[in-house]
């Protein structure tokens, strides 16, 4: 047994020296991350804030070094966990809320919707086909009305008299809990639009189906009122919130079609990358559609009962439609870049 070989004093190993030299930084970073996770960044001084990325980078480089010189498993596990936590914190989603909101409305949302123009025309086509189909079907055979409109009719059925029908589109004199009901409808419609979007991931056909059926029920109601001589009144009543709601539904379905298209035809990207890209674009448009539905809900709860004149209703609905079209067509366009220089600046158009 050789005597001399293995009697080593402590700190003989390179990994031990390495640890001794850097340990202080790691512990400092661990403390800062604990603080940041618990109390947010507000309590940090400017110096500490500036120190954080420095500590993070040095710890990350410690990790890659430790992996090649140290066999202390506890040390490596600790560094991996620390770097992971720091990474999650540093690259987490904590942009300032104001910036997120501004970027979303003035840039991301209108751009995403514009990028979907092909799918938008398809979903508009589905909706129009549905409406026309609903009218034609009911004209041919009124018994189609019940299956098409179903439980949502609330007394607007085939047996209703002209007066009854007029009442359902009148102002609020009956004292029903209409405001509360319209909030319920708003949350319901939002879920329906979410479904139209989400159904896109199983091929797009269900989305088309949903849009056509939706259009048919609208068409059937149009037919009912028109056949009783109330056509323009009904359309005026519908237009108040309908211009917002139908636009939102069209956008939601278009987002769903986009998902379907990118899943089936990923193009030059891998399917996984195409999915991630499609998901972000369609998700942004979808969020816009949901917000529009909330607005439609408010309009439904308030303006429907207070705006009663036909011309006023048409004006209100028309103004909303023009507003949405202008917003989606014009806002957030890139400033035309001067030929070679690529500018990342964004013009924030007026809403």
């Amino acid at each position: 047994m050789s005597e001399a070989a293995n009697e080593k004093p402590p700190l003989q190993l390179k990994s031990q020296k390495f640890r001794e030299a850097r340990e202080k930084d790691w512990k400092a970073l661990a403390k800062q991350i604990d603080r940041a996770e618990n109390g947010g960044l507000r309590k940090f001084t400017t110096e500490e804030l500036l120190d954080l990325p420095v500590l993070y980078r040095s710890t990350v480089s410690s990790l890659s070094m430790a992996q090649s010189i140290s066999l202390d498993r506890n040390l490596i596990t600790f560094l991996q966990a620390l770097c992971a936590r720091a990474y999650v914190y540093m690259y987490g989603p904590h942009a300032r809320p104001g910036v997120i909101v501004r970027d979303f409305f003035l840039r991301d949302l209108p751009r995403s919707v514009r990028a979907l123009w092909g799918e938008l025309s398809l979903s508009t086509l589905c909706l129009v086909l549905g409406i026309v189909g609903g009218i034609l079907m009911c004209m041919a055979d009124p018994s189609w009305y019940d299956p098409l409109v179903g439980g949502m009719s609330q007394g607007r059925d085939l047996n209703a008299s002209v007066d009854d029908l007029r009442k359902t589109i009148g102002g609020s004199e009956s004292g029903e809990p209409l405001a509360a009901f319209s909030v319920f409808l708003m949350s319901h419609n939002t879920q329906v639009t979410l479904s139209a979007f989400a159904l896109g991931v199983i091929g797009g056909l269900p989305t088309a189906f949903l849009m056509i059926v939706f259009g048919m029920s609208v068409g059937a109601m149009v037919w009912l009122f028109a056949s009783r001589g109330l056509g323009p009144d009904f359309i005026a009543w519908l237009s108040i919130h309908g211009t917002t709601e139908l636009t939102a539904a069209v956008i939601g379905a278009a987002a769903g079609f986009h998902l379907a298209r990118r899943i089936m035809f990923p193009g030059h990207l891998t399917r996984k990358a195409a999915l991630a890209e499609a998901g972000r674009l369609a998700g942004t448009a979808m969020l816009g559609a949901m917000l529009m539905l909330v607005i439609a809900g408010f309009i439904e709860g308030v303006a429907r009962q207070t705006v009663t004149e036909m011309w006023a209703r048409f004006t209100f609905g028309g103004v909303m439609l023009v507003f949405w079209l202008a917003y989606f067509i014009a806002v957030g366009r890139l400033r035309k870049p001067r030929p070679p220089k690529v500018s990342h600046e964004v013009r924030h158009g007026q809403t």
């Binding site: 009697e7 402590p10 512990k27 202390d72 966990a81 989603p93 909030v183 979410l194």
Partner: protein
């Protein structure tokens, strides 16, 4: 040497090699190997969140009953009373938020995790290594509609009405809900579409360095190079676990195994026989010194079979 060996059947899990790993290249160019969150921990997190979502309205109702709204109880007030309407609106809005906004809000927060995820120590990260963007969080959570709520609703409706629809809905629910089991990154549909992954981010404590605790002169505890070069890095890791756990029976068993394997000769005098822990510490230090020395020269030895 075909005899059974020390590390066979050791029940010690290696903390950073079990389960699938999600490698993420950070903008600094370092590859961080996150442990992919397991299906079970994601399910547990979801259940915790659901519990909160379900309990919140219950708490609100209890609060309403406890607070002095005696003159406004439902039985003596009409449904169109403005106060009742306002309450109803509030309730619908809260329900709407709990269903659609809860996940988004928490995952957009500084910890990128819902309370359930925090309990399970898992986090949402961006798969490409960059910032986790709001649109990614929104997309991954919007897909919950089609992955979870819609099939659940359909299945519930169909189970009341019966029919083939229930079967289709059930298959759909199962396919989408179990999707994480069928891909290596344990990602659900919303993760693919948002470009996100859910990973395990535990908090680890930095312990002392075992090599530091070896006494400078340990009489009778020296090993020949041949005795040391029996084992590799994997065995070193297991030895470290054993030493940190310090369970007397394990220490004894492992020490005996090593002694047999390296042909250790016990000192003649009984008082010179080192205790098991001291023996193992000394062997750990010697083995680590040798392996790290080889490592610096670019020769790693994975385990005892690696030459």
């Amino acid at each position: 040497m075909a005899r059974p060996d020390l590390m066979k059947g050791g029940a010690v899990a290696l903390p950073f090699t079990d389960g699938p790993v999600t490698p993420v290249t950070t903008p600094e160019g370092v590859v961080l190997s996150f442990r992919t969150a397991s299906f079970a921990s994601r399910l547990a997190a979801l259940l915790i969140d659901f519990l909160i979502i379900i309990l919140a309205p219950v708490v609100l109702v209890i609060l309403y009953i406890l607070l002095p709204f005696e003159h406004l109880k439902f039985d003596n007030v009409k449904m169109d009373h403005p106060f009742i309407q306002a309450l109803f609106i509030l309730f619908v809005l809260i329900g709407f938020f709990l269903r659609s906004g809860y996940f988004m809000l928490f995952e957009l927060g500084p910890r990128a995790a819902t309370p359930g995820k925090r309990v399970m120590k898992i986090r949402v990260i961006s798969h490409d290594g960059g910032h986790l963007t709001p649109s990614a969080v929104i997309t991954r959570n919007a897909l919950r509609e089609v992955e979870l709520y819609l099939p659940l609703t359909l299945a519930l409706q169909a189970s009341v009405n019966g029919g083939w629809v229930s079967l289709v809905a059930l298959i759909w629910t199962l396919t989408l809900a179990l999707l994480p089991l069928f891909n290596t990154s344990r990602a659900r549909l919303g993760d693919f579409l948002g470009g996100t992954r859910v990973v395990h981010v535990p908090r680890e404590r930095l312990s002392f360095d075992l090599a530091e605790q070896v006494p400078v002169t340990s009489p009778g505890l020296s090993f020949t190079p041949e005795q040391i070069s029996v084992y590799g890095e994997k065995e070193l890791g297991v030895l470290e676990e054993v030493l940190r756990e310090k369970r007397a029976t394990t220490l004894r068993a492992v020490a005996d195994r090593i002694k047999t394997r390296i042909g250790w000769v016990e000192p003649k005098i009984a008082s010179d026989i080192p205790p098991d822990e001291a023996f193992l510490r000394a062997y750990y230090a010697a083995l680590r010194a040798q392996l790290e020395g080889r490592m610096l020269l670019g020769r790693r030895r994975k385990d005892k079979f690696d030459e």
